[in-house]
């Protein structure tokens, strides 16, 4: 119901907005894009002006002040608004599946080559390691503990976190380890299983075994040992119960709270968890190298960096070819570098090779003014289509700010990269089987099912095996 009310309100806003519009310039491309604290004025934005000069097109920006991309598109397509292109970015996003649904219904334009959405690659931190463990450094220091290197050491540390009042407030309010099941990268169980056997839920938990044959993690005896370890953590209150009910936002609120109550968590990139304007909280956590399990196994989970949906074209647009031309220009290397780093020569320049990148490689881009995620008017802060090759994303120099999440993430990625499997299986994600397996895993961890019961375990192994396409 709430969703319909929201759509009606947005529709009304559209009607009002459309009524107030200056329709004297029908040739202008009307681009809807989300409001951002980091973009001062799209009417005078350097990047928009660059695109206008480059393409000869007139761009009229319309600011969207809502977060839900799908709700906005519902309202847009239900109205007679003449928006030509919708840009996505920051919190205003849709996924490829959603874009396809709109394309199938004829709302979103599908190009001759079948393209119905345009990529945004480069606005998020990039890296091959899909999950990193972060631990509260200040708590370790206060309790005189070492950074754990094995799963058993981690257990000892979590126990001390839970019971020794590391935040010093006299209350037993510490959360030793928390997560969220909103994405696998936030679920500590997935990371800890990689200390027993290679475990990649993004690729249906399939991996290449020593003989080169494709294997399923759940079939390995070590997977069950890992589950026993996780059950122990949960039972002893070291893996917080909220892990299996919290959304990412709820988890983030707890971690970013003024009171210091979280000991450890996992994420792909810390910028997805610690709020941008929270350097004190960021300084609290350091990454922990992959933990060795009882048999010395210590894998990092590989995750292929995929572009997000950066834009769709309204199928009703009277300027389809102009819209395609604009997007093509935005996807060029020249434009994408402006979209990511700002004005060439002023905010960044190509490196002469005497600098080191955040990934420890030879730098390709030297940032002179680091304007990303700051209020500025040089680019759209990652909103809209862009394609920045990895050679630049991983070749950029550090801005010198110790609380720069991109640098913090890069250092963690470097530390985890040595533990990636040599040969990586990449398959199409099977959401149905994944959901089935996940439910089983949660039930074993929470004790709803008995991980020591051979029949229960056998059912999991057999049923997942039968469902998984190899």
């Amino acid at each position: 119901m709430k969703r319909y009310v929201a759509i009606v309100l947005i529709l009304l806003a559209f009607v009002i907005q459309t009524g107030c519009m200056d329709r004297s310039q029908p040739s202008a491309l009307r681009v809807a894009l989300p409001y951002s604290d980091h973009v001062l004025d799209t009417k005078t934005n350097y990047y928009i002006e660059y695109l206008e000069n480059k393409t000869g097109l007139e761009i009229e920006t319309v600011i969207v002040r809502q977060d839900d991309g799908e709700e906005y598109l519902d309202a847009l397509f239900a109205s007679d608004s003449d928006i030509d292109i919708v840009f996505f970015g920051e919190d205003f996003v849709i996924d490829e599946e959603t874009a396809k649904n709109y394309a199938d219904k004829g709302y979103v334009h599908t190009a001759e080559d079948g393209t119905f959405w345009y990529p945004n690659y480069g606005s998020r931190t990039t890296g091959d390691c899909g999950q990193i463990l972060w631990i509260n450094y200040e708590w370790l220091e206060r309790l005189g503990l070492s950074i754990p290197t094995t799963t058993s050491e981690l257990r000892e540390v979590l126990f001390a976190f839970k019971n020794n009042d590391p935040n010093g407030n006299g209350l037993n309010d510490e959360i030793a380890l928390i997560g969220s099941t909103e994405d696998y990268c936030y679920d500590p169980a997935e990371l800890l299983l990689n200390s027993y056997v290679y475990n990649d839920p993004y690729n249906n938990r399939l991996f290449y075994g020593g003989s080169g044959a494709l294997r399923l993690s759940t079939e390995a005896a070590a997977f069950r040992e890992g589950m026993v370890f996780l059950r122990g953590l949960y039972k002893d209150g070291l893996l917080d119960t909220r892990t299996f009910s919290y959304s990412l936002n709820e988890m983030n609120e707890v971690i970013n709270a003024n009171i210091d109550i979280v000991g450890a968590f996992t994420t792909d990139f810390i910028s997805n968890v610690i709020y941008q304007a929270n350097p004190e909280v960021l300084a609290r956590y350091i990454h922990v190298a992959p933990l060795a399990g009882p048999e010395g196994v210590r894998y990092s989970m590989y995750r292929e960096g995929k572009p997000m949906v950066g834009a769709v074209i309204n199928a009703r647009s009277a300027h389809i070819s102009d819209a395609e031309r604009l997007i093509a220009a935005m996807l060029s290397e020249e434009a994408s570098l402006i979209a990511r780093y700002g004005e060439p020569g002023v905010d960044w320049e190509r490196s002469d090779g005497s600098d080191v990148s955040i990934y420890g490689t030879i730098s390709t881009i030297v940032t002179k003014n680091y304007i990303w995620n700051t209020p500025q008017n040089k680019h759209l802060n990652g909103i809209g289509p862009m394609y920045v090759p990895d050679v630049y994303l991983k070749g950029v120099t550090w801005n010198g700010l110790n609380s720069d999440a991109e640098y913090v993430d890069a250092r963690a990625q470097v530390g985890y990269s040595d533990h990636l499997p040599e040969r990586r299986y990449q398959g199409t994600f099977d959401a149905e089987t994944a959901s089935y397996t996940d439910r089983y895993i949660y039930s074993f961890i929470t004790g709803e099912r008995d991980v020591f019961d051979d029949n229960e375990w056998g059912t999991l192994v057999q049923s997942v095996s039968e469902r998984t396409v190899r």
């Binding site: 450094y137 200040e138 370790l140 220091e141 005189g144 503990l145 070492s146 950074i147 290197t149 350097p279 004190e280 300084a283 190298a289 002469d352 090779g353 005497s354 600098d355 080191v356 955040i358 420890g360 030879i362 120099t397 550090w398 801005n399 010198g400 700010l401 110790n402 609380s403 640098y407 250092r411 470097v414 530390g415 040595d418």
Partner: protein, 383 residues
Amino acid sequence: MRIRITALFMSLLFVFAAGCGQITTDTEDDWLEKAALNVDISEEELYKAALKEDVLIVYTVSTRTVQTKEAFEKAYPGLVVEIRDLRSPDLVDKVAENFAEGRTSCDVVICNDNSGEFKSRLVDTGAVVPYLSPEIKTKMKDGHVGECISFLDEAELLFYNSRLFETQPISNIWELTESRFSGMIYIPNPLRSFSTYAFIAATFDHADELEEAYKSWCGCDFDRKDGTAPEALWKEISKNAVFTNSSDEVMEALNTDKAMLGIMISSKLRYKNMGYGFEPAYRLTPFTGCRTTVSVMLARNSQNVNSAKLFIDFLLGGADGTGDGYKPFRTPGAWSARTDVGDGTDTPLSEIDLLYPNADSMIARKDEFYKFWSECLKDQTNR
């Protein structure tokens, strides 16, 4: 008592002036006068005046300042501190640019002051000024109070991977040029790290000692036909080195066995207690590193002078040195600047083979060093 009343009056005047907007460059002397840097004002009076000021902005090169901030806000309810944690060159750039444009972006500056950049661009230009309460001044070690307030000593020195080596694997600095360490020595880029720059630049004032060490290592005299001993040493070390952005990366490389040896700031020793696998090489012929100092200064034209003074005194541990502000800095790898406060490190600085950089020499030879290092780095990255 009269002095204190006058000081309080001046502090209040300053608060009113600050409230009226930006102080222009024409009134900089007025600022100095109103800042009353050499007047003894009690902690209570400073706090009272500070409560009328805005958020205190601290530019720092040390993450540990965050702990000082938290302790400060607890000790002085109502005062708020914002920390900007920057790498030294970026910090100097920001403060210098803002000062040149007549703007004030911060109130307190905490920075490594060894490369000459800090001195030439911030101290000599008056972009930052020294402040310390008279009581604390009397308790500072020699050489720590002058045009700069050096509140902490550290060292940029060689470390080795203690998982790979049970004992220090080298005894002479020239061994770093041996091919067995190819790709296994991690060093912060000296053009981006003041303390690394200071160490390397300081060696250029000690060519004779390096020649003697060369003879001891090689068994033959150093041949000067292709340049000086320091030039030859660092050119050869560059061939074995992996350059990083910061000491953090060096520490992480040593801990993950990517590095056998690394040059980094001594304050990273505190991570050793947390299980990181590295040890300092305190003894090396002819030297293992250089002494570095960290300064705390008041930013010229600060609009929050009373809060800034209070914070600086708090950072130094207060009148008796036992306050919580100094504790985060009394860690392994750091040496106290106060006579009444013990070092965070068991080994005294005098028992470490360190150079003491000459800032004036580095300022004078800055262009030469930058050119030399740019070439070394290009050679290294082009391999």
